[in-house]
């Protein structure tokens, strides 16, 4: 029996891959398997606009009409149980199975759950999907005392939106500062200061010794003896890639499903893309990374789709992230490792960029913060400079009048 294209995971990556397969002219069957009961939707708004407004629905990636028109069979509310690589088939939780010609694993990641005494803690909130968002939203209103564990992008976006909902917010972070991973200190301190002005209590360097949850609310006991009390506790302490199917099918896995530059796994009929995969980062000499980013998921979907159709496209995009908190927008292109040297460029009084260069003077990353879209254009240009392996003059980078676009032309 001949199979078609089977995609496991109906998030940003899987859904866009399905649409891309059709756009690229594929005529066979496309099955898009997702565990959620909704149409595919965008996750970034879940910590922002969808959490912010009680009547906000999900922002859908596609529609029933488009799925019908493109003959994509979206099967929601089910998961894959196993992959049979010899038979080239996938067994689903509803008892059926699907043969594939090519299989895409776009299984994403899930929140890291907190455990205590070896048992997963009950009564905590997490934010990954629409149901999580609605549950958190229903419990977060004026006067709610919200405890947020983890000061990464997600925890801080939850804090900012919860403030806008009228909650009082305490953020607990074990690291010495917020956004330790991937955001340079000068930008993190702008964000920390803004949270302070908005009334969010951020406790960095705070190691948790004990968490209690019950009907009365939640309590965090810190190692220094302090006790933080709240009505509810949302944990945002990282994500774990969904690799179990790949492991069971004996595909190569190491903090993500390992793929080559073509997003092919160790089985050439199986591809992986998005949050679940670990891939060679072209702009950093092929070091293996795993990214949890909307843009990466979308970009990889197109490359995976093309290669499922027999092309041999290389994934070469430079990573790009953003975060919206209050009216501030942070953007990062590349991976801003702390050991890189830094050049600062101010844009007016309220926005600035940091360029990160390696010892040879090659631009590796750029990060920026400002109101709204103040840094967007320059970060985009920096991303293009990084992709070209440019060695821009640091003095020019520091001068606001020197146009990045002109550096690109050279």
């Amino acid at each position: 029996m001949n199979g078609g294209m089977v995609i496991l995971g109906a998030g940003e990556c899987g859904t866009r891959a399905a649409l891309a397969l059709r756009e690229m002219g594929y005529q066979g069957t496309i099955d898009l398997i997702g565990d959620e009961r909704y149409l595919p939707y965008e996750r970034p708004p879940l910590s922002k606009s969808v959490f912010g407004a009680n009547d906000a629905g999900a922002k859908f990636i596609t529609s029933v009409e488009q799925l019908t028109e493109t003959r994509i069979r979206h099967r929601s509310g089910i998961i894959a149980r196993s992959i049979d690589r010899q038979q080239k088939s996938v067994q689903l939780s509803d008892g059926s199975s699907l043969h594939y010609d090519k299989l895409l694993l776009a299984t994403g990641a899930r929140p890291r759950k907190l455990a205590q005494d070896g048992i997963e803690l009950a009564g905590l909130y997490y934010l990954r999907n629409m149901d999580d968002c609605v549950a958190l939203r229903e419990q977060t209103g004026p006067g709610t005392r919200l405890l947020v564990l983890g000061a990464g992008f997600l925890g801080l976006e939850i804090a900012a939106t919860a403030r806008a909902r009228g909650a009082s917010v305490t953020v607990v972070e074990a690291q010495p500062r917020i956004l330790m991973r991937g955001v340079p200190e000068p930008i993190a301190s702008v964000i920390a200061e803004r949270h302070r002005v908005e009334g969010v209590d951020i406790q960095c360097g705070s190691k948790v010794s004990r968490i209690e949850t019950g009907r009365g609310g939640a309590e965090i006991a810190l190692e220094d003896g302090r006790i933080l009390a709240g009505d509810l506790l949302v944990a945002s302490v990282g994500a774990i890639p969904n690799c179990e199917l790949a492991v069971a099918a004996r595909l190569a896995v190491n903090n993500g499903i390992l793929v080559d530059a073509h997003l092919t796994t160790s089985d050439r009929d199986i591809f992986a893309a998005g949050d679940c995969c670990a891939f060679p980062l072209a702009s950093q000499d092929g070091r293996i990374v795993r990214l949890e980013a909307w843009r990466n998921a979308a970009d990889q979907s197109a490359v995976a789709a093309a290669n499922m159709l027999g092309e041999s496209r290389v994934y070469g995009a430079v990573p790009w992230f953003w975060s919206d908190q209050y009216d501030l927008t942070l953007q990062v292109a590349g991976l801003a490792d702390p050991d890189l040297s830094m050049v600062r460029r101010d844009i007016g009084d309220s926005a600035f960029l940091l360029f990160h260069l390696d010892t040879s003077g090659r631009l590796i990353a750029a990060s920026g913060i400002g109101i709204g879209g103040a840094v967007a254009r320059d970060i985009r240009l920096a991303q293009m400079l990084i992709a070209r392996g440019a060695h821009p003059d640091p003095d020019e980078l520091a001068r606001p009048e020197a146009r990045l676009k002109a550096m690109l032309g050279r």
Partner: protein
């Protein structure tokens, strides 16, 4: 009927760039192409609220600052994910040094 409004002067925009122009509670984007021709579109992305004036012009493409959605600013055509709704375009004329936009609703 056409409703011409002066938006800017020809030197207010660099080649292969754009500016924001607000009129009557609406936001427009005015472009100068690499060849020095002027164009105008709705100033806000059709995907999520973002001002296109913060975006990057490359050739005949404007890229949204928020999620890098792309449009052809000459035709308004959406050029792929995540944008799927075209941008509204508006007529532009140059008289002397002044750039005028026809802000009439279609």
């Amino acid at each position: 009927m056409a409703q011409w409004v002066q938006a800017c002067s020809v030197d207010d925009i660099e080649e292969e760039d754009l500016i924001r122009f607000d009129h009557g509670g609406r936001v427009f984007a005015i472009y100068k192409s690499p060849e020095g021709e002027f164009y105008a579109t709705n100033g806000i992305c059709t995907h999520e609220h973002a001002f296109l004036s913060d975006g990057l012009v490359m050739g005949e493409i404007i890229e949204c600052p928020k999620h890098n959605g792309r449009f052809n600013y000459k035709t308004g055509a959406a050029k792929g994910a995540p944008v799927c709704i075209n941008l509204a375009t508006f007529s532009v004329k140059v008289e002397g040094d002044a750039v005028f936009v026809d802000v009439a609703l279609p």
